[in-house]
Amino acid sequence: MAQRRVWLLVTVVVGTVLTLASTAALAQQSTLDVVRARGHLVCGVNNGLPGFGYLESDGSWSGFDIDYCRAVAAAVLGDPNAVEFVPLTAAERFIALQTGEIDVLIRNATWTLVRDTDLGLNFAPVTFFDGQGFMVPRDLGVTSLEDLAGASICVTSGTTTELNLADAFRARGLPFTPVVFEEIDTVYRAYEQGRCDAVTSDKSQLAGRRAIMADPEAHVILDETISKEPLAPVVRHGDDRWYDVVSWVVYATFFAEEKGITSQNVTTFQSPDPDVQRFLGQTGGLGAMLGLSNDWAIKVIQAVGNYAEIFDRNLGPLGLPRGLNRQWTDGGLLYAMPFR
């Protein structure tokens, strides 16, 4: 009897091994083809950051980053709703991308050298230029970082923010106590309830969360910026076709704003400008070069609008100024590469 059981066990284990072994490496193919074959895009997002990535009461998603997911889906599949959103914590977002669980990560990720090289990622054009700052209760009377010596500071773990914070205080020789949480929401709740003297994060995030606090006027964001935080969509290394698609979807939103093309007028937009004609797919066949249909840009703008529309819809209500995120023609950093 014992022997029978042994063989049963052996069979199970050997079976497992064979199953695993038989499914050796699958052929690598471009994410573009994978997405097409699947019929929907899988987009890694944030689920606790109003304005950027956010779950509404009716189960739908909204936000600046969410709109870029929809834009990519519109360009590739012609349907802005063909997206499966995967909410990810800061800690697991890059692993999810590297392992192919998601096709593209649009979750306010900062572009850094280590991530670009060592983590095997590629960053599409920056959709939002940000910088790390501090928010403090107004009645604390704090005006600069030096006033925060010895303070408790709330921060999210697993981010560059956590390291920047330690760096900034060490560089100034100031003592501080970090109070670290995994969830963005917990960070701000703890700050608002008075657990910390200050909270630190990207300034856009601070502004976004400040707008939804019980009394936004009771909090101020310090002028000081301790880091550069260029936030951009991320794809895997070594998939150039897919990287091109995501990059040019981003440029399309910049370009549309520059030329005054909006979701309202995109279908009827007429212009003698050859750049615009190529953009709209009337000439040039640019879509085919990207592996998309020629009206891809129209679908993108129809679905989510140009950069200004995306910004105003999602970040406007939070009272965020455009700042660096203006067109290069207005002295900002948004600069679409030529559509030719």
């Binding site: 009897m1 014992a2 022997q3 059981r5 042994v6 063989w7 066990l9 052996v10 284990v13 050997v14 497992t16 091994v17 695993l20 072994a21 490496a25 800061a90 800690a91 692993i95 590297q98 392992t99 090289t117 060592d118 983590l119 095997g120 010895g150 303070a151 408790s152 773990s157 697993g158 981010t159 956590e162 390291l163 914070l165 330690a166 760096d167 205080f169 060490r170 501080f176 106590t177 970090p178 109070v179 670290v180 949480f181 995994e182 969830e183 917990t186 709740r189 703890a190 309830q193 008075g194 657990r195 003297d197």
Partner: protein
């Protein structure tokens, strides 16, 4: 259960039970090895794709992040040091939690059997509420719903101006030895020796005369009396209380428990206490009624029956499940990651995020938890064995 087949007559090789057993094991081990090798090959490929290399050297690199509480540490220290800070924090909360949960569990467990209807009812409500909801939810509730709702520092709740409660934590007075402390400590040592002698004497008496001698109670009495008398006999108190004082933004001095620590401790103690209460109740109830009746017919009063007859027997039943509750408490302390207490698991995850070295960090975390389990199991087994020998 397995029945050895009779193999007196040597048949074909493939029908020989012993040969089959050995062959089966070899194939099994080979399969496991193959599985491991496959996993290893996959892992190396996976790591390569992530751009990672397996190494432990990162532990000596500079951590660069801050930790809110624990033994001395600054962001310039190494990842290894940061991990040690986490281990010490886990031990702190576990030891405090085990002691307090035992007290809560014993009280409530006995309360469940109380003859007082109200106490029985309240104990039951407590046990059922805390056992039937997830610990994580309870922790989040204690942290965001209770501790952070306490008044800010300047309007702290205080108990007799000694203990302060506010949203920055719990502040308790800290005993500080004064100049007479050394003298008192020596007196205490003498008292312990005397208590040990009394214990041995009462025990001998009890065994010789075959009647309860209450060795433990007598020894404890000697110890407490000696300590109290010498405390008051000395010209000044051997211990002084350093009371926390509000200075600048926060309290200084005394014992400080951070809000995260307080919430985690509260959550773990109340959750584990409810389970221990059930174990205690079950243990006491499992003693047959005949034992009560026999003790009563011998003329023992109810309190004595509990102390001399029921509890010693119940303890033997209670200890193994309580041990596993202790282990659960240690493991559950890892949920602190949801409320930001920097325990080993939380810091381990942070290290993993910052270095990307998920495999070695997980190995470290698992090995530490396993060693905690092992040590606790060994201690409790030793205690259990000793207890049996004494009783039988």
């Amino acid at each position: 259960m397995a029945v050895q087949l009779s193999t007196g007559r040597r048949g074909a090789l493939w029908r020989d039970a012993r040969v089959l057993a050995v062959a089966g094991q070899i194939v099994f081990v080979l399969a496991i090895v193959l599985l491991a090798a496959l996993a290893y090959a996959n892992m190396m490929r996976g790591l390569e794709r992530l751009g990672l290399r397996l190494q432990l050297g990162f532990l000596s690199l500079e951590a660069g992040f801050g930790i809110s509480e624990g033994i001395a540490y600054n962001p310039g220290d190494s990842y290894g040091r940061a991990f040690v800070v986490g281990v010490v924090n886990t031990l702190r909360v576990s030891v405090a939690g085990i002691i307090l949960a035992t007290v809560v569990g014993l009280l409530v467990g006995i309360g469940r059997l109380s003859s007082n209807w109200l106490i029985r009812f309240l104990s039951t409500v407590y046990v059922e509420t805390f056992r039937n909801t997830p610990l994580l939810l309870q922790l989040i509730f204690w942290y965001t719903g209770v501790i952070l709702k306490l008044p800010p520092v300047r309007q702290s709740l205080s108990v007799a101006d000694r203990v302060y409660l506010n949203q920055r934590g719990v502040f308790l007075p800290r005993p500080v030895p004064s100049e007479t402390f050394a003298l008192w400590a020596w007196t205490l040592v003498a008292c312990v020796a005397a208590a040990a002698a009394v214990y041995a004497w009462r025990r001998r008496v009890a065994l010789r005369e075959d009647r309860p001698g209450f060795p433990f109670a007598a020894a404890a009495g000697v110890l407490v009396a000696g300590a109290a008398i010498s405390w008051f006999a000395l010209p000044s108190a051997p211990l002084e209380w350093q009371v926390p004082v509000l200075q600048g933004f926060n309290f200084r001095g005394g014992i400080q428990l951070s809000p995260e620590f307080a919430a985690l401790l509260l959550g773990l103690v109340l959750y584990t206490g409810a389970f221990i209460a059930e174990v205690v109740r079950g243990g006491i109830q499992s003693i047959p009624k005949g034992q009560w009746e026999a003790a009563q017919s011998l003329g023992l009063r109810p309190g004595m029956t509990m102390y001399l007859v029921i509890l010693p027997q119940a303890l033997r039943i209670i200890i193994p499940p309580v041990t596993s509750q202790y282990l659960n408490l240690v493991k559950n302390s890892s949920l602190s990651t949801a409320i930001g207490f920097p325990d080993m698991f939380n810091i381990g995850v942070t290290i993993m995020n910052q270095t990307g070295q998920s495999l070695p960090v997980f190995g470290l975390i698992m090995a530490t938890y396993l060693s905690f389990s092992l040590v606790t199991a060994l201690i409790m087994n030793w205690y259990n064995r000793r207890f049996r020998l004494v009783e039988r």
